[in-house]
Amino acid sequence: MESTLAGISDLDLISRLRDGDEATFMRLVDSLGPSMLRVARMYVRSRAVAEDVVQDAWIGVLQGIDRFEGRSSLRTWIFRIVTNIAKTRGQREGRSVPFASLAGDDLDAPSFDPSMFLASDDPRGPGHWSTLPTDWRTIPEDRLVARETLDVAERAIETLPPMQAEVIRLRDVRGWTSEEVRNALDLSETNQRVLLHRARAKVRRALDEYLEGEATA
């Protein structure tokens, strides 16, 4: 079982919440709040409504905590609550959000520039590399983890369609499992993976463009 807050098991966390431990509750709010707001924002028309949804979700969490049976991780359960409330609110607003507008319309796009591969009928090797990707292992480690490099990754994530951005944030920024992300965001296993792959591919490309020239041949 994944742990919702670093250093505290979910069982511990649940019992502290049931005991009315405010400090623990606020740690949970600080940890999950920003993601919950973005998730809510996908389904409702404004940030103000999304804030309202998150507030309602926390009330739902508190009201439901005595009945929570731990069949999923606590954080997955909390995200299900915010997703459900946001979807209901969006419907009530008469807002229908097609999956494609959240997921992006580029899910089939190639991860690497197609010109880097030989044609599928090339006798030298159909679909094999004609130009090798840059070998990032030759880039100095301190360059890879420099603030500027992280900013490139952050900006790339900010430009992703909302569901791609949220999947990569939960999986790679926060380290959730694919199962948790799938449940939290109400995605099929395949969609979760496709969204993550597209998101990583675009961040990779942004980094590659930025790091170009750093690698030694």
Binding site: E51, H128, R200, L207
Partner: protein, 83 residues
């Protein structure tokens, strides 16, 4: 290059599934074999791994103070009603 039945162009689209260990066991093995024999795909895998590592160093936003206080108030009301 390798003699497995994935082309490199196909393989790079499976890297996320491969890293999750989500492919069929036989596919997982064939992909691993291809990687052992293919510098380009090894570079591509390394780029994905490094991308994941860099992304893992990013941090989250913070909750805005007014929202935070509103949630705290809701918590206190809930706790007061409980006892």
């Amino acid at each position: 290059m390798s003699s497995t039945d994935f082309s490199c162009r196909e393989l790079v689209e499976l890297l996320t599934a491969y890293l999750d260990g989500a492919l069929e066991p036989s596919q997982q093995t064939r992909l691993g074999t291809h990687l052992q024999n293919c510098d380009g795909c090894t570079d591509a895998l390394e780029q994905f791994r490094t991308t994941i590592e860099i992304t893992g160093r990013l941090t989250e936003d913070q909750v805005a103070a007014p929202e935070r206080e509103a949630v705290r108030e809701a918590f206190r009301r809930w706790r007061a009603e409980r006892t």
